[in-house]
Symmetry: C2
Subunit: 217 residues, 2 copies
Amino acid sequence: MTDEVKLYGAAASPTVFRVKIALNMKGIKYENVEEDLANKSADLLKYNPVHKKVPVLVHNGNPIAESLVIVEYIDDVWKGVPILPEDPYERALARFWAKFIDDKCMPAAFGVFGSNGDEQVVAEACEQLQILENELEFKGTKFFGGDDINIVDIAADFLAYWLGTLEEVAGIKFVTKEKFPRITEWGDNFIKCQIVKEILPSREYLLDVFKKRFGKG
Amino acid sequence: MTDEVKLYGAAASPTVFRVKIALNMKGIKYENVEEDLANKSADLLKYNPVHKKVPVLVHNGNPIAESLVIVEYIDDVWKGVPILPEDPYERALARFWAKFIDDKCMPAAFGVFGSNGDEQVVAEACEQLQILENELEFKGTKFFGGDDINIVDIAADFLAYWLGTLEEVAGIKFVTKEKFPRITEWGDNFIKCQIVKEILPSREYLLDVFKKRFGKG
């Protein structure tokens, strides 16, 4: 039986991109269904009635929502390059950091733009990011996954590319090379990674989308 | 080698109780370290510097934080009664619901007491709980896990016992049998479950703790 894999997503979304990286790591062919987030399809609402959000992966008719749940599913189903470590303790640490990034860093960092650069919100975001910076310093490896990316790097994708684009659109710069040298270096390595680079949306495209959503002009 | 397992917790915490259920399901002996949450131990802060919270499981010297991460770790390391389903799609659904309960239902429900029963906060909590109610109705099974409990039931433990005790202390009742018949029935079954019942803290103990923390008198 041939697998039927459909991804309901949006090209500018970093959480959808997490799933795209995972699929690319496993070499899975899939049908990409681009959603208009201002006018979501009946399929998306049917497949993710709880959150009504992208991404949703539909594998042989079975829908799965929540980007990190999907990434774990992809790793459980398809062999090949591992996305989570094999060792149970390393797996637990990877899940811990992916969850931290998803629960704390991403909302805090994106919250900066919603608040229009409010000082307190920026300080809170920097506090969370400093924890990640310290973890990279402590590990001393190229990626959170070591020599290669794993689910933690995938969870952090927004930091490598999306955030800088948003900073440019909003005219608010808080993740600087001076303040976060490890995160900056990690981000440079991350987008140079072949598996990421070959599917990365263009910067022009993201700028365009974010200008429409957040821009001042 | 004998496993050395320590749990840093607090007897009144439903997230710590998640870990206790998982350990009990696997029949793991462990040392229980009771934390004073008003004056956390140096060990707890060393083992969970990011969140500074219970529960923390330390297995042969390796610390793990975040209750659901710990529960998955326990299932990965120790064989015996499974806590997550074997089938990858069923696993993904279980992770989705455990995450939904953890991210949405628990903060919304506990937020009611922080807000002193604010109408809008109660309405939001009921909206999240209604989604769970519908899921139980849709499944038609005794537990989220089917005939036996799994990680989803474990994640929802606060709904079965803690919430009612808090409602009593605060004098705010919003999870009624009339409004949430399935959740109520599920909760009754959950605390009757042998593996849960034999380690459940007494209602008197919880009432006492919550009265000190939230009580009016």
